[in-house]
Amino acid sequence: MATTATAQTKWWSGGKSPFNIEYGKLMMWYFLMSDAFTFGAFLISYGSIRFSQNFWPDPNVVFNAFPGAGHANLPLAFVSVMTFILIISSVTMVLAVHAGHNGNKKEVVKWLAWTIVGGFAFLGCQAWEWHHLITGEHATLIDGQIQMVGQTTRVNPWGALVHGPELTAALQNSTQHTLATLVSEHSTAYTHDQLMGMPKQQLLGLINEAEVHVREKGPVAFGGYFYGITGFHGFHVFSGVIINIVMLAMAQNDVFEKRGHYLMIEKAGLYWHFVDLVWVFVFLCFYLI
């Protein structure tokens, strides 16, 4: 390419890269811009639906769990861990790209390896969070009785809290199994089998209405948007990790040394930073506001 260009010196008369940038890198930027619109459209659609609802679940109520902490109420704790993992893995990627500029193979391999570790750590966190949300059992008022449901794309258990006579009636209508589960959440005095064998009125007597958190159903769209958008982001993280693994293998096998430059790492780096950039907005839209 460079051989044909020697006669022309003006940038916009052809023959030179007008932006003094490698073609592949420029195209990566345009791809990322289009991807930004895809993510933006998803998030704006979520915002539009959220603004069309009278009630939307408080993220601090939905995302308050931490691995190994049981039922402790720790809003924002786990997601801040995830956010810092991505920030740190972005920094290690910057260092990998910089090492590539200097043609330092050992450093490139080292920092890429740390970036991949960060990517897997983030994916692990997301897998735990999804699993926790889907399999969680939350007392929800559905069709007049209490059911234990998780957060799925079909039901949202994070509506307004149910109080007073409505709660009393709901407890009366609920099945033995649900009541037994509710009791065992707050006390370990009886085994589940003992509770299942108890007369219903005695079981109801064990429930302190001030203690149980029963909620109405929340907006169904919540689950679809949350799993859809964090899933799409997680898919980007996953493909970023795969790209980084390929870069690591190529660097290890001296492909870039033979080529004379490590510019491909730069493009992989752009993609990885973009993944971090998107998370900043996902974090904002789903967890903070």
């Binding site: 073609y23 420029l26 811009m33």
Partner: protein, 153 residues
């Protein structure tokens, strides 16, 4: 040793020390902003737990978090992705199309809000089943809530 492709005609030279300082500075800025965001998130949580959360104050805090997020995005794009080091015209080909988001966000959020208002005005059932109880005027809607249809909550 600098290495590059044939398309590149000149290089931005940064010495090792300046690079290190810049990366550390940006990392600290991103972390500090994130911690501030988390603190604001917890403030909003505490306000929501209270009896009468000041909706305007909550909204102001949410707006502040949005601005902080934009600051984070700026640092990631300009320093980590080195867009700030590119030629101005190249930056403009990325940034100018993104201006579409200004219209995009405003239009769709206003539309969602308008749909909500229309439904609350013309769809009583939507209003009564989805409006949070705190904002409910109990006396006004007493007849409807007293006699719920069986199987409906």
């Amino acid at each position: 040793m600098e290495q590059s492709a044939t398309e590149i005609t000149f290089h931005h030279h940064t010495d090792e020390k300046a690079f290190k300082r810049n990366v550390i500075r940006t990392t600290v800025i991103l972390s500090v902003i994130t911690v501030i965001e988390l603190a604001i998130g917890l403030i909003i949580y505490t306000m929501h737990k209270g009896d009468n959360p000041n909706t305007y104050l909550v909204l102001a805090f949410k707006g502040l978090v949005c601005i902080l997020t934009l600051a984070k995005a700026y640092y990631i794009v300009s320093v980590f992705m080195h867009l700030g080091d590119e030629i101005r015209n190249m930056i403009m080909t990325i940034v100018v199309p993104l201006m579409l988001f200004i219209w995009f966000i405003i239009a769709f959020i206003v539309d969602g809000n308008s749909y909500k208002n229309l439904r609350n005005n013309y769809d009583r059932h939507f209003h009564d089943t989805t409006m949070p109880k705190e904002h409910h005027n109990a006396a006004e809607h007493a007849p409807e809530t007293e006699a719920p249809q069986p199987g409906k909550q």
